[in-house]
Each structure stands twice: as C-alpha cells, then as structure tokens.
Amino acid sequence: MSIEALGFYLGLGLFHGLNPAMGWLFAVALALQHNSFSWIPRAVGALLVGHFLAVLFTCGIFVLLGKALSPFWVKGLSGIALFGFGFYWLFRARHPNWVGMNVGIMDLVYWSFLMASAHGAGLMVFAGSSFCGKPFFPWSMQGGSFKLFLYPSVVHSLGYFLAIFLIATVVFRADLLQFFYKKWINFDILWSISLFLAAMGIALG
C-alpha cells in the first residue's frame, strides 16, 4: 500500500471518528450513565467492530461487483450511491430509532454497523481508491482478492478507532462535555460534502 493511500484511509478514519454521531459521544454517555470509565474501552471496542464490518461489507460488495460488471458500471453505481447518500444527509437527514440508551455490547456493534452503513462510510473508503496514487479496486486490478478490500478497511478502522478512543477518553476524563457540545459543528453538511467529493473523485478517476 502506498504512503498516500495509507494516509488517506487513516485520515478518512479519523474524520469518521470525529463525528459525534459516529460513536464517541455514545461511549461518553454510557460511561457517564454507568459512572465508570470501563465503559469507554468496552463501547469503543464494540463501535470499532461495527464500523469495520460496515466498511468491509460495502467494499466487499463493490469488489465482487467488479468481478461481474465492467469498471464503467462499478464506477457508475458507486458514484450514484455516493451522490444519493450526499443528498440524503443534506436534505433528509434522519437518525435511527431502533436503539435506546440502555444498550449492551451487541446493540452497540449493530448500531455502529448501521450508522456507518447509513452514512455511506464504506462507500467513501471505496471511492478513495481513485484519489490514491495506486487504485486498489477492480477496474485497475487483475483478478482481485480478499486483500483488496481488507487492507483499506483495516487501515480505515484503525483511524476511526484512534479518533473515538482518544476523544471519548479525554472528554470523559476531563469532564469536557460542557465545553465540547457548543463546538458541535454540523457534521451532516460536512458529510454530504465529503460524499459529493468522493462521487466526483470516482467520476474523474
């Protein structure tokens, strides 16, 4: 994996983790509710698994599609999907109502999986291939293999993990919530912009 690619996937992971809607705030809330720091690593672990699976799943689908369809179609489909998610988060942002606050580890894995999927996290990772010097994805690779979508997913999830673990720990330990919540910029808009950029990246790539 090239250094640019490594940086891209890691950076995208950090960006995903920064969004309070992607998990760190949930970890802080659970630790506060149970009045115990042990909920931070526990929740972060569960969120990481869910996020990783979502990204792996989406990348996997497109890699497999790449075996069946021509690159033109794969690019087209992923581009359309990215634009679709972008418009959704800009104009019709809805959040799930299938999870409450009284949750266990499996609930968190499920929640994280659904949030990452619904936010098009995996699609962004997939689209990243056209930003990076050496694309990973099927339209430029011969054969394709498991590694193709495993590596980006792993590197990306590592970035995500670092971000949520660090932020959740600091916010909980230093009681920063009061300060932090006022700085909560609108990630739905940032997210849409990223999705549009990714879509354009694919279109031009």
């Binding site: 802080v28 959040h95 109502n97 999870v99 919540y181 609108n186």
Partner: protein, 469 residues
Amino acid sequence: MRWTIDPTFYPSARVAMESPPEKLAYVVALNPAAQSNGSLENPRGDILAVVDLDPDSKTYGQIVSQLEMPYPGDELHHFGWNACSSSLCPQSPHPHLERRYLVVPGLRSSRIYVIDTKPNPLFPEITKIIEPEVLKKRTGYSRPHTVHCGPEGIYVSALGNDKGEGPGGIFILDHFSFDPLGMWEIDRGPQYYAYDFWWHINQDILISSEWGTPPMVEQGVVGSLLMEGKYGHRLHLWDMRKRKHLQVLDLGEDNQMALELRPAHDPRKSYGFAGVVISRKDLSASVWLWFRDNSGWQIKKVIEIPAISVEQEKLPTLLKPFGKVPPLITDIDLSLDDKYLYVSCWGTGELRKYEVADPYNPELVGCLKIGGIGFQYSHPKNPQKALNGGPQMVEVSRDGKRIYLTNSLYWAWDEQFYPSGIEGWMVKIQSTPKSFEFEKDFFIEFAGLRPHQVRLQGGDSSTDSFCFP
C-alpha cells in the same frame, strides 16, 4: 439548517441551569365564550399569548402579542417544543435541529397547530395545521394532550381513539415535516386510559398516567364515576425500544385521576413524582413516588394534603354535600436540580413548595395562597381584589429561581368548580432556598380568556430531557 448547535440545547440539567434567564413566555389561553355559547355569530378562537419576562424591558410583565387560532373551540391546553435537549442524545443525535416551533394541540377539537417562533419571537405565526380527520386517520387517536420532544420524533399523548372513546395512547409526529406518523404502541397490554407521559430516557423506560376517556371528562367530572372509583388510578411502565407495556403501578381505586408525571431530570436516577387529584375516600389529594429498587419498580405515597371544611354557601353544587374543599392537585413541577417540587392545589388555592432532595421524604418548605374555592385569596398587587381560579399550571425556570403560575384548568371543570366564572391571571414567584414569595408587581390579567400552560423561550423544567448526568 444550522452550522452550529442550537444554543438552547443542553447536554445536562446542570448545564441548562446555568443558561441565561428566559426573556419570553408563550402561554395558551382558552376563549370560554366559544365553549359556552355555540350560537355566537362570530365565535373567536383560543389564543397563544406572548408574555415579556425581561425585567429590563419596557413591556415587562405584559402580554406583548396574541395569536388567535383560526378556528373557535379548540381548547388549547398543553403544548411543547418541536425539539429540545434530547436532540443531543448520542444514539440518535440531531444537534442541528432548532427549538423553534411550538406544537399546540386542541384538546377538544383534536386539531394541532404548529407555530413558528423564529422569524419574530414576539409575533409567532401558524405554519401548519394538522386537521382532526388527518390525525384520526393516521394515528387512530383523538384529543391530543401532552407533547414531548423525543430523541427521534415528537411524542404526543391522546385521551381517546379515533371514535372518541378509549383506549387513549401515544402517537408520533415526524420532527421535520410534523406529519403524524402513527400509533406509538406495539403492545399496550392492560393500558386503556391515558393522560400524561414522560420517560427515564437513558433507561429506555416510558411512564404514562391515566385520567379518563373523552366522555368521562369533556362535560365535566362525573360525580358517580368518581365515587365508584372509575377514573384512572394507575401508572404504566413501557419499554421505549420495543414500545411494549411492561408493568402496571396501581395506586388503588380510592386515588382518582393520576395526572402529571415528573421524572427526575438526572438520567442516572430512577424515580419520579405523580400527582393525584383526589381521593374518593376523604377528598384529599396526594403525590406519589415511583422508584426502582432491587425488587423492581414500586410506587409509594409521599405527600398527602387533606381537604378543608368550608361553609356550604361558599361551595359549588358539586361539593355542597361534602362541606369541604378538596385540594385538587392538578399540576406539579420539579426543578432541574431535582431538589424542589412545586405542587398546585387548584381547589384550596395553594402553591406548595417541597424540598425533595430525599424523594422518599418530601419536606414542606413553603406555601403561597392565591384564589381558591371559597377562599379567593388576593395577590399582593391588589390585596382588595378577590381572585378566582387557583394555582394550576406551574412552570419553573431553568435555573429554578422563578416560578410562573396560571389559574384555569379545563373549560367544563372550571365551570363546575368555579361556577361564577374564572377571570384569567398569570403571576410570577421568586423562589430561593431561603424565600418563596410573589413578585408584587407581576400580575397579568387575561381579559375574557383563561390561561393554561406556560412555556418559556429556550426551555423550562417540564420540556427537556437530558441524556447526560
């Protein structure tokens, strides 16, 4: 859509208490002429009044504008914000919604108004009307009552079903479009009567209370039903995630009409207070504590207020046989620090202040008198004037230092308990750990109208739910 967070969303009650004092109140008021005289040629609608609460303003303590509803006879009663601090809850965060629209149901008409306060907070405007037919068709409910901004939609309770009978329940409005999305319950178990509801948001527990079906309340209290113990006397616990009934907490048939529910604001605590209007045994009123201990959810009476004997000629027909005025606890409100509980005794004209830091043993620390059946206590602004109606809807400011109080209950019940008619008023009370007194110059008269619930700009002690302790 906002780039930054709505400054009136607070992660915790602690943070909310430090927010700046409220500058405006929105107060709904009933137009009794539209109820008592159906043949009026030009019946007027109920109103939403905007009251100036900024002591530095020239119009402080006055009604600065009135928005009249386009239809007469809605009976505006309780209402709430489209969004509040629950938008910060981490499982479905919506921090860039705005606390902007008031969702105002007509309890009698089943019509719901969505009123925009943003373009000009002093002159709010109606932006959407949900007609009764639409509400009934889409949710199966009528007589909408309590409004709470939930983490993923606006929850509204309803006294009756689409036929105007039982069961009542809860429905959801979409918090972007305000379209009624449907019935909330998936499994209502033995629940039949409805009234108020709220939740322990971090424990996924919703709790609901019981009044009666529309025919039991809309023409006034039915004495025979009351004496037979037929009004609601149970609380219901629900699983919020599964929308499923979990448990009944029964107060016993003697305790009639379990109305307002005030769970602790701290999401780590598992208790709350419920006001009970009247006991059929001795006309006393009571406040009950629900709580969770090792053996599960329990309920226990923690406050009892006895009825007071009064000469018969001062009593309305309904009460003459008893020779007593019942306290009639019609509203209670808990300060955001969970330390003080304010209890309205609409019958005896008392507003009581209890210290509830130990919720199992409330301690009476203050009592103010105004109005009341047979008492007609006056207000310090005009000590000569006898007032009618009594302390009813009570709203506590976010910092807990100011209390706002209005005097009308519900049209048909106003007529029974205060047959000479209620002249609407709103008063302000200063409350500190040491003092509890009326602000002498704050006395707002609602000429010909009857004010009910008060909502403070930026949130108050009975609107917001917090996911962080």
